[in-house]
């Protein structure tokens, strides 16, 4: 605390920017701000606005009030399955992939030999495009040509990606494949910055490794936990590429993001309705974004 006060005292008084300084600031702050407003926040607001209209993208825009939302919640057959799939996605990433990533990070952090090899291998899927993950999933899981059925054999091949009761689980497996490595890297970095003195002290006090982990290490990883939580939520709301690469998100693989895309591109042209789905997605994610940013903001103020 006294440190920051001293720093603030040192701060020079009102600064005089020359005209050139102002021009540089104006242009180089202006362009990114303009881009951000025009291509991110403007469209976000426009989505909200369009969601209250019936618009096919060409003709006149008609105000529709809450009709789109009413239809969405009551009559649109794909909506609730899509919500359920997004929630499943969240559960799989949050309850399986993230803890598994943490476990791997802890094991690697204990300084085993070949740790770099393990680290790189486990991390490899993260650099792959989700679209590529989708294609590789097909190579393995396709009904007639897939490798998995070739291994299992049997007379009636399982349709891993075509059976609507089964395919979402296979896709989740693929999503976890990628998410685990991501989480692992974040925790590895976090674990490296844990003061080794703390662990030594705990060991000297007779704490078992497990106790030391849950009482000392995990609490100090709090910032990483927050980040992992945010990434997990955002990823599961954004989920799109894998299912779209597999079957355009149909037949058991519906997701909110797919429904938006389906309604706005292609021949459907139900822009108002598609926007309503996007707004649902927006509201859910904004809840998490605001919570996260408030937390960041508090950290900022403490500096």
């Amino acid at each position: 605390m006294p440190n920051t006060r001293a720093r603030r005292a040192k701060r020079p008084g009102p600064r005089h920017h020359t005209r050139r300084d102002l021009a540089v600031l104006g242009v180089l702050l202006g362009i990114p701000i303009l881009l951000d407003l025009a291509l991110i926040w403007g469209p976000t607001l426009a989505s909200v606005g369009l969601s209250f209209t019936t618009w096919d993208g060409i003709g006149a825009i008609h105000w529709a009030g809450l009709t789109n939302y009413d239809n969405l919640f009551t009559t649109y057959p794909q909506f609730w399955p899509a919500v359920r799939h997004n929630l499943l996605w969240l559960a799989a990433l949050g309850l399986l992939a993230a803890p598994f990533g943490l476990l791997l990070a802890v094991l690697i952090d204990r300084g085993v030999r070949f740790s770099r090899f393990y680290q790189s291998t486990l991390y490899m899927p993260v650099v792959l495009s989700l679209a590529v993950v989708g294609f590789i999933a097909q190579l393995i899981l396709s009904r007639d040509q897939g490798a998995l059925n070739a291994v299992i054999g049997g007379r009636n091949p399982t349709d891993w990606l075509g059976n609507p009761g089964l395919n979402i689980w296979m896709v989740l497996l693929a999503a976890c494949w990628r998410h685990t490595g991501y989480v692992m890297i974040l925790y590895l970095a976090g674990l490296k910055s844990v003061d080794p003195g703390l662990k030594e002290a705990a060991a000297l006090d007779g704490a078992s490794e497990r106790q030391a982990f849950f009482r000392i290490v995990l609490p100090t990883l709090r910032p990483v936990n927050v980040i992992v939580g945010v990434i997990t939520v955002i990823e599961s709301l954004r989920a799109f590429d894998i299912v779209y690469a597999i079957n355009k998100g149909r037949n058991g693989l519906e997701l909110l993001s797919v429904l938006v895309t389906d309604n706005i591109i292609g021949e459907a042209g139900r822009i108002g309705f598609g926007s309503a789905i996007a707004v649902v997605l927006l509201l859910v994610s904004l809840g998490f974004i605001v919570t996260y940013l408030v937390q960041e903001l508090r950290g900022e103020e403490r500096r």
Binding site: D36, L39, Y123, A131, V151, L186, I265, V290, L293
Partner: protein
Amino acid sequence: MTAPAATAPPAPRPAHAPRAPARRRGRFGVHLFLSTVSLAFLAPLLLAVYASLRPYEETAAYGYFSLPRHLSFDYYHQAFTDSGMGRYFLNSLLIAVPGVLLTLFLASFVAFAVSRLRIRGGLVLLMLFTAGNLLPQQVIVTPLYVLFNKIPLPYWMSASLTMYDSLWAVIAVQIAFQLGFCVFVLANFMRTLPREILEAAIVDGAGVWAQYRRVTLPLCRPALAALGTLQFTWMYNDFLWGLVFLSDGDKLPVTSALNNLRGQFFTDYNLLAAGSVLVALPTIVVFLLLQRHFIAGLTLGASKG
């Protein structure tokens, strides 16, 4: 980043001699577990590579895990020539290279203004950019689609005469979207730089541009390298923007084009495997060469000073 940990000298390790045997057995278990998981993680990729090197008839006749009779790069040749993947790779580069450079440039200046100049409203700016990066892409897709259709471009810039169906649209969105992440990371990074250097420069009469270009930017080289690697991977891997904002198949980036390739060669999975491996290759190479930067980029965003 790790300054506090570095200043504290590590305490001498207490000897664990009596516990050694148990620990060795534990180690063996850990290796067994880690190598099993590693193998499971690699298996899909290895399988794709293996399949792509063998003729389809052979896999069909003898199964995926049989020993190879013929191995060749024929499928790679075929994927590259028949489907014109070279062009799609070029498209991806045309998007990702300017995208990464401009994003880093603009983001570094915003971060500099927010974290080093203490401009008014800096925190609001930081929030605006950061939150923008966390939005699901689908929220902004519709209005952007309409907007890009309304922005006219001269013929030499876009054959479609609008921003829609031109690489400009994809580049612009990539930059706008990724700015948020880069501003966030760079602002956090710049905060860890000593202020004294900047203050000395101000005393010497350095203007805003010199403070940014000559004083701050050189110190950010590691962060920029890390972010550059990461951003390249992300922009290259992107699937949605190309899919939505481009209708002319020839302009697609390679990730979105793979989708078309699949339709073309639906019957031959080994060819599809070759296509997938080809698309994955650049990011894997970048990752293997620049692993440290890549990982640093991700963790820079996650661990605050």
